[in-house]
Symmetry: C2
Subunit: 245 residues, 2 copies
């Protein structure tokens, strides 16, 4: 069974994540194992101190190396092998869907949740990659840890039921945006569902969805459309739509 | 007091977020109010159904409009005014630190947690902006909701204590990466702290940190360095370092 170990100073933050929704069900049904480790359990002093002031001065506190190395040794022993180690870091490589696919093939992953102030640089001796989830500052690396696990676990075999999944289609494969969705009622507070979707005419519906998807993508990211056009990744019909928008 | 309302089908996912860490403390001490609303509480049928099949066919389920509009009406009435409404959406605008700063000045924010399959398009009539936290697919819009709240709440007055905060310095202001941090012990498992940091020589320490910050940034994002150089946003000393790396 694939496994995640998470090393954090705030294990309580993960309580909802471990029991609710798609991920909660995946853990409950044994599709994946997720174990949260409290960094403080790997300290040896009475006050269970995990951070200290930076050498050379400056603001903020730095996570000490010893508890992290001790936790790493413990997890390696418990799992019987060295996991793939990720450090969540505001200046790490930006997380993408391609990275999620790559990580979904790893057997054991350890996520060390960083803090914005920093982790003692020597910890990077055991880190395989530093990952950031985007260009914004968070209070800690715990939410990024959950985001990474969520994106990776949903790709694991048997995790997504058909109700949850959107089949990889030719739109999303090429990075095109989704088309507008509507469900019942056909009219609500004066707002109607586009007639074509009620027509039952599959060819027309498909064409309308293609138009909307290409139009939306063009408005948000015209570069992508130009790139796909250059690489001849549109069908003839799609190319005609592109020329129109 | 600034407030967040969150509309979700998985309220339990937020349990850790509301009580732990910096955000938990901010809520407890009355710096911000966060209220999680269960979308199912705004259904009127016995089975409390919140989604339905899409008009026109296709995979996945779509969040129905009525419970969302009913919840919106309820929240507007409860808060006495219309909140700023965000829909977490894989195809929305990408969240950034600038957006976090902008949102930290709003008084009332409502986050509607989308689902990957989609939300009935008519809901967008009440939505002010659609936000994505990055180019990856998640099981739902709840983690993005927490990421947005985390980034925004930490910027609110009185939320960050001096232990948590990293003063905005001239590095991060310009998008430069942080320098390596070290704390005690000076030697651990054969790995030593760079001598300069132990020297007590403040000028030298400052110079070393500048070098490391510029070097790291150059390796990850040389375009940014070129841009800052062009815009003359380096000091003379920094420019010399840039020429060297």
């Amino acid at each position: 069974m694939p496994s995640f170990d998470v090393l954090t100073v705030l294990p309580g933050l993960f309580s909802g994540f471990l029991t609710e929704g798609v991920i909660g069900r995946a853990i409950k049904s044994g599709k994946v194992s997720v174990k949260i480790h409290n960094l403080r359990d790997f300290t040896t002093d009475k006050h269970r101190v995990v951070d200290d002031v930076p050498y050379g001065g400056g603001p903020g506190m730095v996570l000490k190396p010893e508890p992290i190395f001790r936790a790493f040794d413990h997890i390696c022993e418990e799992r019987g092998k060295k996991p793939h180690v990720i450090l969540t870091e505001p200046w790490g490589e930006t997380f993408t869907q391609e990275k999620a696919v790559e990580l979904s093939k790893k057997e054991n992953i350890l996520i060390i949740c960083g803090r914005y102030e920093g982790v003692d640089e020597r910890v990077k001796a055991i880190v395989d990659e530093e990952i950031s989830i985007g260009n914004y500052v968070l209070t800690g690396g715990e939410l990024p840890g959950m985001v990474i696990m969520d994106a990776v676990i949903r790709l694991m075999p048997g995790v997504l039921g058909c109700r949850d999944s959107l089949e990889a289609d030719s739109f999303s494969d090429r990075g095109l945006m989704g088309y507008p969705n509507y469900t019942r009622p056909a009219e609500y507070r004066g707002m109607k569902v586009p007639k074509v979707l009620l027509s039952g005419h599959h060819k027309k519906i498909e064409l309308w969805r293609k138009e909307k998807s290409i139009e939306r993508t063009y408005l948000k990211n015209s570069e992508l459309i130009k790139k796909l056009l250059k690489e001849k990744r549109f069908s003839k019909e799609e190319e005609r739509i592109v020329r129109e928008v």
